[in-house]
């Protein structure tokens, strides 16, 4: 059965087996706790980002019976790319259309009373300065 690492396992292994620090300072600046908080965050809109981050940064050999050894990959550009993608995909306005029928409908026969061209109705601006 494939080993399924839990968050505790990942955190534990980081503490016991210091990994090679990534060359990029960008990754070092990212607080590991922030990454894990993101992974545990409830909002579903970050689900894609969460799973991609987890799969991208953590690789483990599940075939071994020894405690898994986790290594950080140098993926500075990936963080940036995924964050930008998550931000750009956030929907700001929804274009939804729901066609609703009228409450009641009836057919009537009408007799033409008159047909005339509409007359213009001008509303002049009120005078702000009294004369």
């Amino acid at each position: 059965m494939m080993y399924q690492p839990t968050l505790e396992d990942v955190r534990y292994s980081f503490d016991l087996y210091p990994c090679h620090s990534p060359v990029s300072s960008a990754i070092e600046e990212i607080d590991r706790d922030e990454i894990f908080d993101c992974l545990l965050a409830k909002p579903r809109k970050h689900e894609y980002l969460k799973m991609t981050l987890l799969n991208s940064f953590v690789q483990y050999d599940s075939s071994s019976f020894l405690p898994p050894h986790f290594e950080m990959e140098n993926n500075t550009s990936l963080i940036k790319e995924l964050t930008e993608k998550a931000i750009s995909e956030e929907v700001l306005e929804y274009d939804v259309f729901v066609k609703m029928p009228p409450i009641k409908e009836q057919i009537v026969r009408a007799k033409i009373k008159s047909i005339e061209k509409a007359s213009i109705h001008i509303v002049e601006p009120e005078e702000f300065y009294g004369e």
Partner: protein, 174 residues
């Protein structure tokens, strides 16, 4: 705080105002060809008055703009978007173009659940007709400020939106 800013009131005065709800307002749909003794459809909608109150009171307009109002529950049955909590929340936040959510009403005799104003379908009826029609209905529900002004603002926002074919590219960390 909620009692200081009630959403609704019940009125029966002759002066129509923006935010007044008219029940089963008839909208006449003429045929494409009008001849002697023609048939016309009459569609009835529960509507809210969108025309500005000053225009109504001073009779500066001949036709009153109306938007249909639907129970949110009914809209859920017709469209799946509003069935979800996310859809309802986006509606509440004003992020669903063309629709405006109204709060429940707990006034006795006018109790109702959440309702949605539909900006995409607008009707107009003669002002004189609507005054007489509202008078026959007796008491009616009225949306109070500032919720009335918020409705008017959303209505304007819906019509003034502009879609850009090529927008400014998003900012990013460099």
């Amino acid at each position: 705080m909620a009692s200081e800013y009630p959403w609704y009131d019940v009125v029966d005065d002759e002066d129509l105002m923006q935010g007044d709800f008219i029940m089963e307002c008839p909208i006449v749909v003429p045929p494409s060809e009008i001849s002697e003794g023609f048939e016309a459809r009459i569609l009835k909608y529960n509507v809210v008055i969108m025309s500005q109150s000053c225009d109504l009171v001073n009779k500066k307009i001949d036709l009153v703009l109306l938007c249909p109002v639907w129970p949110l529950n009914d809209m859920e049955k017709e469209g799946s978007f509003f069935q979800s909590i996310k859809g309802k929340e986006e509606l509440r936040r004003g992020n669903v173009a063309g629709y405006h959510l109204l709060n429940k009403c707990e006034i006795t005799g006018f109790d109702r659940d959440y309702h949605v104003v539909d900006f995409r379908n607008i009707y107009s009826v003669p002002l004189d007709f609507l005054i007489e029609f509202a008078k026959k209905q007796g008491k009616r529900l009225r949306l109070l400020p500032p919720y009335r002004e918020r409705l008017s603002q959303d209505f304007a926002r819906f019509f003034m939106r502009v879609g850009l074919p090529v927008d400014i590219p998003p900012f990013s960390d460099k």
